[in-house]
Symmetry: C2
Subunit: 179 residues, 2 copies
């Protein structure tokens, strides 16, 4: 079965953006000369699943930053809403997480990048995430969009490794599930 993988940055108090989607607090603390492993992470990923919030942030930037196929989970967006220049890069899907993963599995996909708080939370609830790489920035935001949300039960993780960077970023990788 195709597996979901998370690679995301958060404030120490667990926010992935400010309430209006801003990530200036992260960009300011990032050091572009540090290799945080994104290229290594992305190289065997078949595609990226995101929610409408992350999609709208992504199309607000000057250029489209993803080189892999992007699936946007939305009940309201339609294919005609996608800018013409991005039609071959983005697909709108209206499936539940499990049905989406089954359809990707049938297409032969093996690993998908799952991005955005709401989407990560729904995939965790359905036990569709295999591992998570979480990069913590040295800041408390005090408010914003949360990385994690409610779960019906405790979810054990296994710590794989932690890397620290001179910028102050701390990156931990966890496998979802007990030892």
């Amino acid at each position: 079965m195709v597996t979901g993988h998370v690679f995301i940055a958060t404030s120490l108090d667990g926010f992935i953006s400010t309430a209006d989607g801003g990530i200036e607090w992260l960009i300011r603390r990032d050091d572009p000369n540090e290799d945080h492993g994104y290229n290594d992470f992305i190289k065997d990923i078949d595609g990226l699943i995101m929610g409408r919030g992350t999609y709208e942030k992504a199309i607000s930037f000057e250029s489209w930053q993803y080189t892999i196929p992007v699936l946007v989970m939305s009940r309201t967006l339609k294919s005609k809403d996608i800018p013409i220049s991005l039609k071959d890069k983005i697909q709108i899907v209206d499936y539940s997480p499990i049905d989406l993963m089954r359809s990707l599995d049938a297409k032969g996909w093996r690993k998908v990048y799952v991005d955005g708080g709401q989407v990560i939370q729904s995939f965790l609830r359905d036990n569709l995430i295999a591992d998570m790489v979480i990069t913590t920035a040295p800041v408390l935001l005090g408010a914003g969009r949360s990385l994690f949300g409610a779960l019906s039960s405790e979810t054990s993780l296994t710590h794989i490794k932690t890397t620290t960077f001179p910028s102050g970023l701390v990156q931990s990788k966890y496998r979802v599930g007990g030892k």
Copy 2:
């Protein structure tokens, strides 16, 4: 001026206990043979400030676990509520965080241990915390009592060091304030 210091454990999703104060999820993932640095942390601490929630949890255990003076911040608890055997170890205080710190400073205290979610949050809001040692357990609880809360503005931290343990605990120390 006397400074506040945090030494606390949290789930990866930022909870310091379940909704009813339970920390079985932490005890189960702890390894008593690992040295997580508590004794080193406590050795130059003059006393411990906690809230009513942490106090009630602490007196529910068979024996009192603190060797340093404990101050319980509460508007409702009275001295007569303290068990007689603990009268010389615990003091109830009804000050604001800043007034409490001023009174401790006047007594010659230099470093206080600030414990419990609500108390840590109020001391952070008043900029009374110098540094924080946060130990993250490899688990998502999905609900519970939060370590961090609302802040009126972004608070910069400086990453000091991170230590990982075979148990899966990851411990990071941050100084409060920018570089």
